[in-house]
């Protein structure tokens, strides 16, 4: 048996968790190996040394303090919304019926509610159109004014005749 194997088994050995065959092979190895013998001794001593770290004695009112804490948390608002709902003991059928009524109500309201949004849109649309017409008129007037330097359009035929371009018909 190798020393590493022996030391791994020493833990099981000291906790009485080894089969007889394992115990025999460990004991044989330890008899001949001073290093493993020392390791076994120190391992046991360390294990026992850990007992020197003693525990603490909790307060005797641990249990009553616990229940006070539970009561306090249950009283606190918003601790657990679902627990409050559960406490109402609503049946699933009743909850379903309430949900259905709510949904039908919302749809009915949406269906029969006067749709002021469309009118608003039409008004806005008309207003936009009016603005466009005014802009168009203004542009036309401006263009006419600019082109007026070329003279009145009604004299154009006469001018063409004078210049010998012939009859426009």
């Amino acid at each position: 048996m190798e020393c590493s194997d022996c030391r791994e088994l020493i833990v099981s050995w000291s906790s009485g968790d080894l089969p007889p065959s394992g115990i025999e092979s460990i004991e044989a190895h330890i008899r001949e190996c001073p290093g493993c013998r020392l390791y076994m001794t120190q391992s046991d001593r360390v294990w026992n040394l850990l007992d020197e770290w003693r525990g603490i004695e909790p307060r005797s009112d641990f249990v009553s303090t616990f229940w006070d804490r539970v009561a306090k948390e249950e009283r606190a608002p918003g601790w657990d919304v679902f627990s409050y709902v559960r406490k109402l003991r609503l049946s699933w059928a009743l909850a379903g019926a309430l949900a259905s009524v709510l949904i039908v109500g919302i749809f009915t309201f949406a269906l029969f509610k006067p749709d002021s949004g469309f009118e608003t849109y039409a008004d806005n649309d008309a207003r936009d159109e009016q603005i466009l017409l005014e802009l168009d008129d203004a542009t036309t007037r401006e263009t006419t004014d600019v082109l007026s330097i070329y003279g009145p359009w009604e004299n154009r035929v006469e001018i063409m005749k004078i210049n010998g371009y012939g009859d426009t018909n």
Binding site: L50, I56, P58
Partner: protein, 190 residues
């Protein structure tokens, strides 16, 4: 049926008295486990109550699939670890409680003994703290809480062989750390 499982099933069916009995059976172990894990005496009881609170809140979902104690210590480990991480607790000697919490024997409760116990407690804590998390938890569960390798394996969610390996490796490291405090301490060769 295991008494803990029976009490937990009664708690599940609405018997709070059964849960009180369950707490009485285990709260000292849980408080001390958390105390050794965090080395903070003052917080240990609060955190232990948090552990039982979590169990109480989830009582309706309880299924007796494993030993109650493994479930309990798994939650205690998580609560302790979360606390240490969240609070970024400085687990140095500065944070350690001077009282130590030892139950003094009047006959040996002398000043030297107290100094020794304080020192050895700090040394053991620091040695344990230097171990990897799973080795530390494995040793704490098996050594201090008296859990079997099988139960520790359930807490750590690993195999029994892995727990033995954690304990073995942890013990080897503790020998190195605590050797100066062993009577007749010395080297061991290969």
């Amino acid at each position: 049926m295991d008494i803990d499982i029976e009490l937990m099933l009664r708690t599940k069916s609405g018997d709070d008295g059964a849960f009180s009995e369950l707490m009485r059976r285990h709260y000292k172990g849980v408080v001390n486990y958390i105390y050794r894990y965090t080395n903070l005496k003052e917080n240990s009881e609060d955190l232990a109550q948090e552990v039982f609170l979590r169990i109480y809140r989830s009582r309706k979902q309880y299924r007796p699939e494993a030993k109650f104690s493994t479930w309990l210590y798994k939650i205690a480990t998580n609560v302790s670890l979360t606390h240490v991480k969240k609070k970024n607790v400085n687990l140095s000697l500065d944070e350690m409680n001077d009282e130590g919490g030892e139950i003094g024997d009047p006959e040996i409760d002398i000043a030297d003994d107290l100094i020794y116990r304080k020192e050895i407690k700090d040394v053991i804590f620091l040695a344990m703290e230097s171990l990897p998390e799973r080795e530390k938890v494995a040793i704490m569960l098996c050594k201090y809480e008296g859990l079997s390798y099988e139960e520790a394996a359930q807490v750590l969610e690993c195999t029994v062989g892995a727990v033995k390996s954690y304990v073995h490796r942890g013990r080897m490291k503790l020998i190195d750390k605590l050797k100066p405090y062993l009577p007749g301490g010395g080297e061991y060769g290969v």
